[in-house]
Symmetry: C2
Amino acid sequence: MVEQPPDEPNLDVIFKALAHPTRRELIEQMAAEPKSVSELADPHDVSLAAISKHLHVLEDAGLIEVEEDGRIRRCYLDATPLSAAFGWLTRYRVLWDDRLDALANHLENQDNDDRPDSS
Amino acid sequence: MVEQPPDEPNLDVIFKALAHPTRRELIEQMAAEPKSVSELADPHDVSLAAISKHLHVLEDAGLIEVEEDGRIRRCYLDATPLSAAFGWLTRYRVLWDDRLDALANHLENQDNDDRPDSS
């Protein structure tokens, strides 16, 4: 049973895919150019099976396409689903901008109060 | 043992917090104004215990502050951690922009090919 239409970005699986440091690093590794599974696994201190599991989570989120080239499995990053996550976050941008501005003002006032009176 | 310095945004817990539709809805409910736990639970067809669990996940991510007001627990959204998630995603923006531009060009060319020749 498919609950989500295939072309609808599924924010649950996209955000879940981003919720692990290894998966974020795998995305970064593929950003410049496609990589084989063993190239992707190389810098990580975990088993190839663990890397495969992470790659499956990224594949479920539509973030990678895998191409079989003989015995090599080459992974291509498709960053399109990230735009849906970005779009969702954008709605709250005004809220964190306000909060960060208030914090900056508070720190500036504190700094001014701490400074010896130069008058 | 604390692995992450307290002020460092923890992308794992922030993205995990966003990976559930109920938690994204709770964020939306608090965006306009603070809400009590029962106001937050009201539109959801799940138990108060389930909502409390979701609120704890949001609290762990630093996305809400809870204020006790007599018997009322009032929840305030702090959107600041979302800026860290946004910042991480921004690094890949050029990649999905390129992909979406290529797709738009492809569709436009297809559209032109399908159109009867007007010359």
